[in-house]
Amino acid sequence: MKRKLIGWVSFFLATIIWSLLFHLFFSSSDILQKEGISSHANALAKRHLKLWVVPKLRKLELESMRSTNAEWDFMGRSFLVWALANMALRDSSQKKEYLYVMDQIIDETLKLEKENTPYHFLMDYARFKPWVINPSRSIFIDGEISLMLAVRCFIKKRSDYLVELDNRVEIMVQQMKKSPVLSSESYPDECWTFCNSIALASIKIHDVLSGDDHSVFLKQWFSVAREKLIDQKTGLLISSYTQKGVHLDGPEGSSIWLVSHALSLIDPVFAKEQYELAKKYLGKSFVGFGWASEWPPSWQGPLDVDSGVVIPVLDIGTGSSGLAFIGAATFEDFDYYKKLRATLSFGGFPVDVDDSRYYAAGNQVGDAVLLYSEVLGPLWKKIRENNQ
């Protein structure tokens, strides 16, 4: 009896001790360096650079992603280009190599878009309904390509890319102006704040590069968004709506973190408000681990392919948690970022091959998002400085 009691008391104590110590085995110290590139970011980048140098590896990676979602192929490219632009600013000795890879990605993306139409990067349901705005274009594609072109040209101007950027920005602004909520469709009669905010960031950089002035349009967008695209219960921007502005999906973790990052380039105060609200309603942490939910308690929507798997009980949205890294990095929320990293180390299943790293539980787009979160900062800062 005495031994049994000792046994159970020991087990109970051990469980408490391990629960408290557990996170220490997964915490990282090299997070969010202000200057240079951390060893972790370097290891992640090496894996991506290898994918773009070894075609066989890239083919395998893209096949596995495209079998689930064609968008991921496209977004993986975008995040990597945006990350490399920041890395070029952080380490000028590698600038030439980074520009080379950025150009490779951009050229191949433009080629695929031209040869296979933009539907190549869209999910199949894009073909099932007619587009409202004429001519039919997806701001998901135009916005991300524009931002790729814009950041590339910001690092080093290239005349053919500048022409392409000019055209796309002109088209996007015209399309957005045709909507009462100044938003263009990502999919037929489906506007996403995610895509429109990326488009806005690209318009802003385009203005800095070209000397054009879309400041009135940008101001109008924010004013309309505050009035018509806010969820009344949380104050957060909704994630999707029709071209006329009818709300579809409420605030969504896999949108809002990136939206707050993109908008911070144009209206840092509004963007910070959105980040704080997102953290309040979606951000979670417990004994050293951090994660994010996909939906706030007041709005439970259906899970889509962007949401990723949602782990019940703890309500961990994998898509939302991944993009929360970008929000936390943008607003220098080191504590939350550190907790997110602990969760990633625990449940991301890092695989180290030579001196490169990837996370087995994610995919290339997940790793690219993570890389971007680790190196973002210098680009937005420099664009703001040039704007003044």
Binding site: I6, G7, V9, S10, A14, T318, F349, A360
Partner: protein, 111 residues
């Protein structure tokens, strides 16, 4: 003569000792912890870690097929959680038990 004496001496039998070790004793707990860790290590050796891609809806080796990938991934996850949650708790439990037995002067051999 010496050989006969030697053969009559009782030999340490690992299987018997393992079978006779109560699971909730310090030695039993350590054995369990090592067993879980060994199982996890084996799955790592077989390269099943990559199949955790199922968590993001990605199937890392298209040739394996979705169902088999999901099975491997699930199997690996179970072993991983066993390794990070259960093994350490068992080892700490064994340590605390040993300390308490020595404080309370209970013989571990008798357990």
């Amino acid at each position: 003569m010496k050989d006969i004496e030697e053969s009559l001496k009782p030999k340490f039998n690992v299987v018997k000792w393992f079978a006779a070790t109560p699971m909730f004793s310090p030695a039993g707990l350590i054995i369990c912890a090592l067993f879980i860790a060994g199982f996890y290590g084996l799955l790592n050796l077989f390269g099943l870690r990559v199949y955790t891609g199922i968590l993001s809806g990605t199937f890392p080796v298209p040739a394996t097929g979705k169902q088999l990938s999901a099975f491997y991934g699930f199997f690996y996850l179970i072993s991983y959680f066993g390794f990070v949650f259960i093994s350490p708790v068992l080892i700490i439990t064994a340590t605390i038990q040993t300390i308490l037995y020595s404080i309370l002067k209970i013989s571990i051999k008798k357990i």
